[in-house]
């Protein structure tokens, strides 16, 4: 056991390293990759950020959320609606973070203060996602508009304005710049997660995951801590949604069960209780899905399904823990 001081310093170091690596990637990758690869990489990063948000909430907070896509979708829609109404899309960013965070806090209040537990929490989050999905799908009519932004029902909002240079609404960010922003967000969130987990707050959150009753008996308000970590997760998912809105566009599928399920799968394959694993898991599985779509004559669902079943049976703890153990064994 190391002294907490050393650990904190190491966490800080990891956070700084992540930011440096991100800075390097943001500068270097657009120079070597083709344009389409840069754009697709931005989508992958948005998804990786979504996976990271669930990794925090589920892996460390112990809250299995079946509706992470709800916050993802809310972030995307909040950004699109605000960007269409505001003169400078930069102002839409805080909206895209605030709306899903508040939604997560409200939902968290219902669940944690109502003492809803494990599977039941899963069902509530799933149901909320379904309600949002049904609702947003039925907003095709002209009467459904917020200010200048029609909600568009099933078709979504194709005319989502991209981010512009802060303070200069005329200059829209190029795909390479959006990529840099995305990778910055991912690294930033990763660093924040690392720091949160090393803080007193983070330690209490993990303690609650390990033994809720014991933590409560030690005098911590379990509900409040869970609520807080859930809201942070909602915020990060919202950020992912905003990035997604910038490189794809917002449509009700963002709220779909398929997305909610995919995120869980990414985190699971990457390793529950790790941060880097889910990020890698998200990217790997995204690439696999896209690759499966280019194979002639093979049904992609079949491939994905098989990969999943095999992953659960062969590497039950996920990629990161399994790899770490392997490496430790090699180098005694």
């Amino acid at each position: 056991m190391e002294a907490p001081g050393t650990e904190n310093r190491r966490a800080l170091l990891q956070a700084v390293l992540a930011l440096l690596a991100a800075g390097f990637a943001a500068w270097w990758l657009p120079q070597v990759l083709e344009l389409f690869a840069v754009i697709n990489a931005t989508v992958y990063i948005a998804m990786a950020l979504l996976a990271l948000s669930l990794a925090l909430v589920w892996g460390f907070g112990g809250i299995l959320c079946f509706g992470q896509a709800a916050f993802f979708g809310l972030g995307g829609y909040a950004y699109a609606v605000a960007a269409l109404n505001l003169p400078d899309t930069t102002y839409a960013v805080p909206v895209a973070l605030g709306v899903p965070m508040l939604a997560a806090a409200a939902l968290g209040y219902v669940m944690f203060y109502g003492k809803v537990s494990d599977v039941y929490m899963g069902v509530i989050t799933l149901t909320v996602t379904l309600i949002l999905f049904n609702f947003i799908n039925s907003t095709a009519g002209d009467e459904w508009r917020i200010g200048a932004a029609p909600l568009g029902g099933f078709n979504g909002i194709p005319a989502t304005p991209p981010l512009n240079v802060p303070g200069d609404p005329g200059t829209v960010l190029a795909p390479e710049q959006v990529f840099a922003v995305a990778i910055g967000c991912l690294a930033g969130c990763y660093a924040i997660c690392k720091l949160i987990l090393r803080s007193h707050f983070g330690r209490v959150v993990v303690a609650i995951r390990e033994n809720e009753l014991r933590a409560a008996l030690l005098g911590y308000d379990v509900r409040l801590y869970k609520l807080a970590i859930f809201a942070v997760g909602g915020l990060m998912a919202g950020l992912a949604g905003m990035l997604f809105a910038n490189c794809v566009f917002v449509s009700p599928t963002m709220f779909s069960l398929a997305y909610s399920g995919q995120v869980i799968i990414w985190v699971m394959v990457g390793g529950v209780g790790t941060l880097l694993g889910p990020i890698v898991g998200a990217m790997l599985l995204q690439a696999l899905t896209a690759w499966a779509g280019t194979l002639p004559g093979v049904n992609p669902s079949l491939i994905l399904g098989l990969v999943l079943v095999v992953a659960v049976l062969a590497i039950p703890r996920g990629l990161q823990p399994t790899l770490t153990t392997l490496l430790r064994k090699r180098a005694p």
């Binding site: 083709e34 344009l35 389409f36 690869a37 754009i39 697709n40 989508v43 049904n134 799908n137 039925s138 095709a140 009519g141 002209d142 568009g152 029902g153 099933f154 078709n155 979504g156 194709p158 005319a159 997604f244 490189c247 794809v248 566009f249 449509s251 599928t253 398929a258 690439a287 899905t289 896209a290 690759w291 499966a292 779509g293 280019t294 194979l295 002639p296 049904n299 992609p300 669902s301």
Partner: protein
């Protein structure tokens, strides 16, 4: 790794074409097709892919385009909007496709369209839809409500009566189409007694069927979409309603819905599309013979228009390239805008340069024994709905989908 495998896969796909046309000896012209071959929309996507491939083979068999063979690269977005965007980006910036054919739902089209516009890649959307797309780079070759609903409604009003009950899928297509149905009924002196919308995953239609019975309409018009909604027709028949209230639909048969039902459940539903496999013309018979000779037992049932429009879309693009003498996007757009038409299995299709939509033949047919029986044929129906809101001659930089204001 992804990239190398992909090239290998694309190469494998193209190998037979290149081999056969080695004589042409030139770089192939790449056409990317993005259609769902898996997931919930594959019932529409698979026949569309078969028709795009077949059109390319016919073009190649006739010597290719500009002395070069045409190579189709198929991507399967798995009924997932995000993959549509990714594959469209890939098609435009990496494959440098001469044209992209694809998209089934309006949402998937809106995912593709801005990407291809941004990267200056020609786009063909070959599906029946609600109308209103106004974009010089995007050619919509399917029928719109002013074409099919306008023909369907007078037919059923004359046959069955003036009071209609509309059941529609709760998304953009359903919402807009139900307005058009109401409009045409009112124009004929009738009216809609009620309109009900259903989320796409509803499977229990018992309450709806009872509501319809209480409203006692002369006819029911359905604009329901997808596998779950097929339940409606089955529960309708099971409740013994088929013999009491006749039904028409703007969507039934667009894919393969008619195959899912037994004859007792499906027979008698009246539909209107710009093509039915059963269209009785020498051109169509010859086309079907060629398709069967090529695909054998794997020949899909083409049903309504979606698959055939994909074939015609390829023909129109090829005609544009021939006329332009180049695959350069602006030249092809100009050539296409000069009033090109092709005579294909569904009749004559003429591009309307004002809207980039098409003037086409509309057929009214009724379901019969898992297929269709064509009742009426209306040649040369213009896309008047989109024409009322879009003029690309005056506004060449337009880039939007206008919701056609249906005055009812």
């Amino acid at each position: 790794m992804q990239r190398r495998t992909l090239i290998a896969a694309a190469g494998g796909l193209a190998a037979p074409l290149v081999f056969r046309h080695a004589a042409l000896g030139a770089d192939p012209i790449k056409v990317v097709s993005i259609h769902d071959a898996s997931g919930g929309l594959d019932i529409y996507g698979k026949p569309m892919i078969a028709c795009v491939d077949f059109a390319a083979e016919e073009i190649n068999a006739a010597g290719g385009l500009l002395g070069r063979p045409v190579q189709v690269i198929n991507y399967d977005p798995q009924s997932n909007i995000q993959l549509y965007t990714q594959f469209a980006t890939q098609a435009a910036t990496r494959d440098k496709a001469a044209a992209v054919h694809g998209g089934i739902t309006s949402a998937s089209r809106e995912a593709i369209r801005p990407v291809l516009k941004r990267y200056n890649t020609l786009y063909f959307y070959n599906t029946q839809y609600e109308g209103g797309v106004c974009d010089r780079n995007c050619f919509c070759t399917g029928s719109t409500p002013a074409q099919n609903v306008q023909r369907l409604v007078p037919h059923i009003m004359q046959k069955w009566g003036k009071k209609v009950y509309i059941v529609a899928a709760d998304y953009n297509y359903g919402q807009i189409t139900s307005k058009w149905v109401t409009k045409f009924f009112r124009e004929g002196g009738g009216d809609a007694v009620a309109v009900d919308f259903f989320p796409l995953d509803v499977t229990n239609f018992g309450p709806a069927i009872q509501k319809i019975q209480a409203a006692k309409p002369d006819v029911v018009v359905s604009a329901l979409v997808g596998g779950a909604h097929v339940s409606f027709y089955r529960q309708w028949a099971a409740a013994g309603m088929k013999s009491r209230i006749p039904m028409a639909s703007t969507t039934f048969g667009g894919g393969n819905e008619s195959l899912l039902l037994s004859p007792e459940e499906g027979d008698g539903i009246v539909c209107a599309f710009s093509y039915f496999q059963e269209v009785d013309s020498p051109v169509n018979r010859a086309f079907l013979d060629r398709l069967r000779a090529k695909l054998g037992a794997n020949t899909p049932y083409l049903g309504g228009e979606l698959a055939m429009r994909s074939y015609v879309g390829m023909q129109l693009w090829a005609e544009g390239v021939r006329k332009a003498g180049s695959i350069d996007r602006t030249k092809v757009i100009e050539a296409l805008g000069s009033g090109i038409s092709v005579d294909g299995p569904p009749g004559r299709t003429t591009l309307d340069s004002k809207t980039n939509h098409v003037t086409l033949d509309v057929y009214v047919a009724e379901v019969k024994n898992r297929g269709f029986n064509v009742l009426q044929h209306f040649p040369n129906s213009p896309p008047s709905d989109t024409q009322s809101v879009c003029d690309l001659q005056k506004e060449p930089n337009a880039n939007r989908q206008v919701v056609v204001d249906v005055r009812i």
